[in-house]
Structures are given as C-alpha cells and as structure tokens.
Symmetry: C2
Subunit: 260 residues, 2 copies
C-alpha cells in the first residue's frame, strides 16, 4: 500500500532533506522511523521538494510504501511518536501505488522571511535579519518580472532543462516582518534563494527592477550568483495535481485492490 | 552616568538571567560586553525581571553605569556588536544616577504561548505544545479570579512578602495559537508559570474556575505545584513608573550633572 504524508521540520539541525552518508537528514530520520515500524526493513521515502541544508518545511509532501497496508491514522501516530523534536508527520493518506510526490506536485510554494529591523534574537532562527529599511514595493515590481514560463538558468544551479513556470512572487510587509512568497510548478536547485538575493539587492537600492529582468533574459548564472541564507526559507505548501499518465499506469497494474 | 536599556533574548541557551558560577547567563553576557567596552573593569547589570532558565524576553529592562558617560547610541551600537546571537541590546537611554529597573518598574507583562494543535517543530522553541483542544473561555474566566491585589503564595515560591497586584490575565486564541498574557506590578518566582499550569488544568477540563479561586484563597502552595515549561514564557514589556523617593534621593546626590 502506498501513502502520502505531510511533513513539517525545523531545518536548522539537518544537512538537508536527502540522505547523505554521515549526515543528519530529514529523509534519514523518516526512513529510520519507517524501518522501526516495519521490523527493520528499509522503506524508501520520496519527497516533493528536496530542500537544502537549513531550509525548513511546513508543507513538505512525502510518499512511502507500507507492505502491511496499515490504516493511515495508525501510521501517522506510530511514525510521529518515533520522530525527533524537529520533524513531525501529519495527515497520512492512502494514494495510488505509483504515486510519487515529485511528479504529482502541480506547484510548490516557498516563503522567505526577512526581519527588517534591529537584530532580533527571537527571530534569528527562522528569518534573515536586515537592518536597513527595504523598499518592498520595488522588490514586488522586480519579482513580477520573473512571473511566467522562463529559462531560469540565471537563478538556479545548472540543469539540462532549466525552464520553469513561476506563478507568483509576492512581497508583503507587516511592521518589521517582510515575507517573499514564490510559487512555481517546480524550482531549480537554489532558485528561491537566488531570486530572494536578487530582490534584496533591489530592496537595498543597489540594483533596479530592469537588472533583474535582464539577468533573467541573459539565461546564464549572471545575477551576481548570491543566494540568501537558508534559515529564512520554508517550503510552505505542495499542491498535488491530477495524476499523470505515468502514475495512473503504474497504479493500475500494481495496486492490490481498488482503493484510491 | 547611568543608563537603561531594553534587552531581547532567546532564553533557550541560558541558565536564566542572573549570574551563576559556571553557567551561561544573560547577565553574564551583558556584563562581559560591558567589561570589554570599559577596558576590562567589572560593570554591574541590574534587571527589572530576573527571568528563569529557558525563559525568553523581548522587553527586559536593565541598567548599568558607564563612567565615561558615552552617548547612549554609541553604547547601544558597541554593546550590540559584542553580544552573541541570542541576546540583543536596543534603545539605550540615560537615566538618573540612582535608577534601578527593579524598583522603577511599575508593572511587567509576560506572555505564555501554547501551540494547541498537532506537534509542530516550527513552534517547538517558543511554545508549549498541547494537542487536546483547550477551553480558552474557561481559562479566561479562571484567570479573571486572580486579578487584583492578593497573597499569591499559592502560585509562587515562598516569599516573606507574597502580596502582588495582578492587573490582567488575558487568554486569546488565533487558530491553534493560544496566548496567555499576565500583567502585574511584580511577580513571585515561578508565578506566571504556576498560574499558566493552573489555567491549563482548567482548559483541559481537569479542574474548574472555582478551584483556581480556592487555591488562591488558601494562600499556600496548594494548586498542585505544577509549573508550565519555561520555553513558552516571554517577558514582553516592563513599564517604568515615576521615580520613587529612593531613586530621586540617590540621583540628587550622585548625579554629576542635571541631565535626566
């Protein structure tokens, strides 16, 4: 039986989502908990977004298989009880056997949080501190230049297929709190943090909106290459779309019963 | 010259405010920074509230003396630059020479934060997680029984003068976030956390409002003695009142000039 689950984590203590030898990872913790409830056998976890070291998540979606086909609620309880303080599992659901959140995700929403004020120890863990007043209206305008289907090579790690669709870039201020929300069908590695670094340059008045649009058009890792620190970034939501041909096909052959 | 400063800290990494041998304390960090900018001589720091281990502050008020009488802004910058990530200094102001925030504080406001929902790693550091739905209306009613001038022996560590005036107890809910704000002229040691423990018992339906009022009236450490965990507690604000005779007197004799 295949399941999907929503996962929340404080990324501070992790070397990222994906398993790496000798490093503490979210995937590692999840797979350890799954192994425990599966009598020691390895259970592979797949995620919608392989977040980098230090990046947080409140709406990460993962999937895994439980050969015993236990009720979703029972799995949620058992796994959550085994996980450490900085990872929690929520809302386990049964999904078709071929389900893979990486392909099922229609879009992802990330939030970058900036504390735009004097140094604040209570904000330190989940926000980037920026003392000088940011021009959020200029940041919002610069962000809107990125919306649409583009080659995002200028804002991501090298990838053989660098075209992504950015649905929205929203910059909001509430007192000293500035949030930058970016939604896209998918992201290149480091893409949100490079977009944020670019918008922060605009917010500081060190560059302008046209420069951001030009960087995008250049299609090369041109926009000074800076990335905003991981601690301000959080994967907020993964919206799952209709099953694709690939999933439906696998589920039809592999599903042991008719449940969806 | 005497100064007052507002201080913010993440209490997680501290054994409390007050200096203790062999422990990391907020006072210790502040005094170390002051010693550095004072050529190594010890500068004593006094605080409005000596918060316990793990308790946070956003509006702690401290005072100290700078023999060089440097401008307040210069001191703020110099000290803040020397402090670690989890303590920040803000808004330094000159005050009369005899100023002591412990006596000058007219009232203090603490906030206790409860995450009333499924386990949340992103809330873990600054809130107590409570999964079962709390009856916040009953908690608010129970809290109102504590408002006024009372002997708070039932909700604090033993003290030879246990009478305090609680100005307000407010319980608010915003989704899963429940905040309990308590304002009083002063607090006995552990008093907010014991009040919160009592209100949580009411919120769980394990006891009722009358029991809280009876515990108060008993004037002995009666209300099951439980204290809510430190991590949910934050000293939000210290409101300084008019100078008392003691301060004015000292300041008249010790102030090197007429500045207030």
């Amino acid at each position: 039986m295949r399941y999907a689950a929503r996962v929340e984590y404080d990324g501070t203590g992790f070397a990222g989502f994906q398993v790496q030898p000798g490093a503490r990872t979210v995937q590692g913790e999840l797979e350890a908990a799954l192994a425990t409830i599966s009598g020691g056998s390895r259970v592979r976890v797949v995620a919608a977004g392989r977040t980098d070291a230090g990046v947080h998540a409140i709406g990460q979606v993962i999937s895994f298989t439980d050969p015993k086909g236990r009720p979703a609620k029972e799995l949620a309880r058992a796994l959550d009880a085994l996980l450490p303080e900085d990872v929690a599992i929520r809302e386990v659901r049964r999904v078709p056997a071929g389900f893979n959140p990486r392909y099922a995700a229609r879009y992802r929403e990330y939030r970058y949080t900036v504390w735009n004020g004097p140094r604040s120890p209570l904000r330190e863990r989940f926000a980037l501190g920026v003392r000088d007043q940011l021009d959020t209206a200029a940041m919002e305008r610069a962000g809107s230049a990125l919306v649409g289907r583009h080659d995002f090579s200028a804002f991501g790690a090298t990838h053989r297929q660098p075209v992504r669709t950015v649905h929205s870039v929203r910059v909001r201020r509430a007192g000293s709190l500035v949030t930058i929300d970016v939604a896209a069908d998918a992201f290149l590695r480091g893409m949100v943090r490079r977009i944020v670094a670019g918008l922060l340059e605009v917010g500081h008045g060190r560059t302008n909106e046209e420069a951001v649009a030009e960087a995008l058009a250049s299609k090369r890792a041109a926009f000074n290459g800076a990335t905003a620190p991981a601690k301000g970034l959080c994967l907020r939501r993964v919206v799952l779309g209709p099953m694709r041909a690939r999933d439906t096909q696998v589920s039809t052959t592999a599903r042991p019963n008719g449940e969806r």
